[in-house]
Symmetry: C2
Subunit: 274 residues, 2 copies
C-alpha cells in the first residue's frame, strides 16, 4: 500500500493506518526499532512537497540547531526551521530519539536509586505529560514535526481522542520510581477541561496510579508554563512533599522555582513552550 519513491497526497483514508503503525511502534518497541526506510517513506508521504534535508541544509546545520534547542541556547522559537523538517522527522522516528530518551531516564533512575530514601511517603517525582509521559508523535508526524505553526484546534482534537501512546522510556522510569516507593505527580499544560480524557489516556497506556494530576486551571490563563508550574510545585512542597526529581521535555518544566532536587530534560526538537 505504501510505495517507495512515489510521493502522493495523503488521503484521509490512509491516516489511521499510519497512526496505527506509529502507535504500534511506540508501544511495542523498547529500543526504537523503527526502520529508517519506513520513516523515509512516511516523511515523504506526509509532506510530499518538502525535501528531506540531510544533516545540513543550506546554511543551517540541523544537528547544531537541535543541540542549540536542547541546551536552551535557542529559545522562544515558534516552528522548526523548514530545512530541518526531514532531519527532525528522521530523528523522531529513528533510533536516536529513543536512545537519547533512554540515557536521560537511565540517569534519572540511577540518581533516584542512589538516594537511599526514607520511605515516609513524602518523596515525590514530578512528570510533565506531553512528550514526556505521553507521546504526541502520531500527531506531529502528520503536521511536519513542528514545521507547521501550532494549531490549537487540531491539537486539541488529537488530545481528545485520548490515544497518545506512552513514551516507553518514561513509562519504564515511572514504574521503577514507584517500585522505589516514590510517589508521582503529573503537572501538565493541558487544561482542566481535559482531565477525564487525560486520566483515561494515562491509565490505558500503563500509568495506573498517581498522587496528583495537576492540569492548568483557567486562573493561569496567560501565564507562562514556568510561572504556572513553579506555582503548582510550590503548593506541593508547601503541603509536605519533597520534590526529589522533575522530568520534562521543555526547559519550562524544570526552570523557575521549586524545581526539585534534580531535574531531567528529555529531548524535544518539535516545539518550544516558555
Amino acid at each position: 500500500m505504501i510505495e517507495r519513491q512515489q510521493p502522493f497526497v495523503l488521503t484521509m483514508k490512509a491516516l489511521p493506518v499510519l497512526q496505527l503503525l506509529f502507535l504500534a511502534t511506540l508501544v511495542a518497541t523498547t529500543q526504537g526499532s523503527f526502520e529508517h526506510d519506513i520513516a523515509d517513506q512516511i516523511i515523504h508521504l506526509l509532506r510530499p512537497k518538502s525535501g528531506v534535508g540531510g544533516s545540513q541544509v543550506g546554511n543551517i546545520s540541523c544537528l547544531s540547531w537541535r543541540l542549540g534547542v536542547e541546551t536552551h541556547n535557542i529559545i522562544d522559537w515558534t516552528t522548526i526551521p523548514a530545512a530541518c523538517e526531514g532531519y527532525v522527522g528522521h530523528y523522531m522516528l529513528g533510533d536516536q530519539y529513543r536512545k537519547d530518551s533512554e540515557v536521560v531516564t537511565h540517569e534519572a533512575y540511577v540518581y533516584a536509586e542512589g538516594l537511599n530514601l526514607t520511605n515516609d511517603g513524602n518523596n515525590l517525582w514530578v512528570f510533565d505529560i506531553d512528550e514526556t509521559t505521553l507521546s504526541n508523535l502520531p500527531y506531529y508526524a502528520e503536521h511536519g514535526f513542528g514545521v507547521e505553526v501550532y494549531n490549537s484546534t487540531a491539537f486539541t482534537a488529537w488530545v481528545l481522542e485520548g490515544i497518545a501512546p506512552a513514551l516507553p522510556e518514561s513509562l519504564k522510569l515511572y514504574k521503577k520510581l514507584l517500585a522505589l516507593g516514590i510517589k508521582v505527580a503529573f503537572i501538565t499544560g493541558r487544561e482542566e477541561s481535559q482531565r477525564n480524557v487525560t486520566e483515561t489516556n494515562l491509565k490505558n497506556v500503563g500509568y495506573d496510579t498517581w498522587e496528583t494530576l495537576v492540569l492548568k486551571d483557567s486562573s493561569y490563563s496567560g501565564s507562562t508554563a514556568v510561572v504556572y508550574k513553579s506555582a503548582e510545585r510550590k503548593k506541593l512542597e508547601e503541603s509536605g512533599y519533597r520534590i526529589i526529581g522533575n522530568i520534562g521535555d521543555q526547559w519550562s518544566d524544570i526552570m523557575g522555582t521549586n524545581i526539585g532536587n534534580r531535574t531531567f530534560k528529555l529531548p524535544d526538537p518539535m516545539y518550544y513552550i516558555s
Copy 2:
C-alpha cells in the same frame, strides 16, 4: 611525515608539529575546515591502541552520551566513556564542534544586538576562559579528549606555555559585543598565580581589552565553580554592572546566583566541572 593507516607511538619530536597544526586550524579558520581524514590520522597517532569508535560502541550511544552531558542530564562525571574517545575526538576536531559553537555564539549576538541597550557603561558580558574564550584542544588531543583522568601537573604546564588558541567563534562574539558598547569580564577557574600568563595568552590571540579578569583566589580553595563564580558575579553586580549575558562551556559557569539576564552554553564533551 604522517602516514595513514600506520599507527605508531608518537615521539615527542612530532608533537610541536601537530600542535602547530591544531593552532593554525583553530586560529585561521572560521568555519571548521579541519578535514576528517587528518583528524582520523591524528587520533590514531595520538592513541594508537584505542579503537576509533563510531557513533555507537557496545551499549553506549556516544551521541546520546554527549547530548546527555550538554543538557546537564549526565553530571558529576570524571572521564568520558572509554568507548567514546574516538567519537569525541572526531567531534572536537571535526566541523560539528565548530558549527555547534557557531550556533551558540550567533544566538548570543542576535540576543545582545536586540537589546537596544542604553550605553551607560554598565552593561557587562561574562566570559569563562577555558574551552570558551581560549581552547585547550591542543592539550586534550594529546590526552585522549577527556578519557584520561585530569592531570593537574600536566595541564598546568600546558597553561603556563600560554599558547592556547582562541575559540574562533567566541573571539568573533567578543569583538561584536565590544562593538555594541558592551564591556567584558572574564571569570575563570584558573588560579590567581596564572594571571600574567593568562593575560598574555588572551592578548596574543586577540582579546585585547577587558573590564576585569577574575581568577580563582586561594580563599575559594575547595569551593565549587558554581559557588566561586556566583560570588564573583554578585560582586560585579553590587559594584554597579548589569550582567546582560554570560557564556561558558560548563553548566557551572551559568548556574547558581547572579547568572545574568541570559546564559549560553558552549559545547564541551571533554570534561566536567561542578
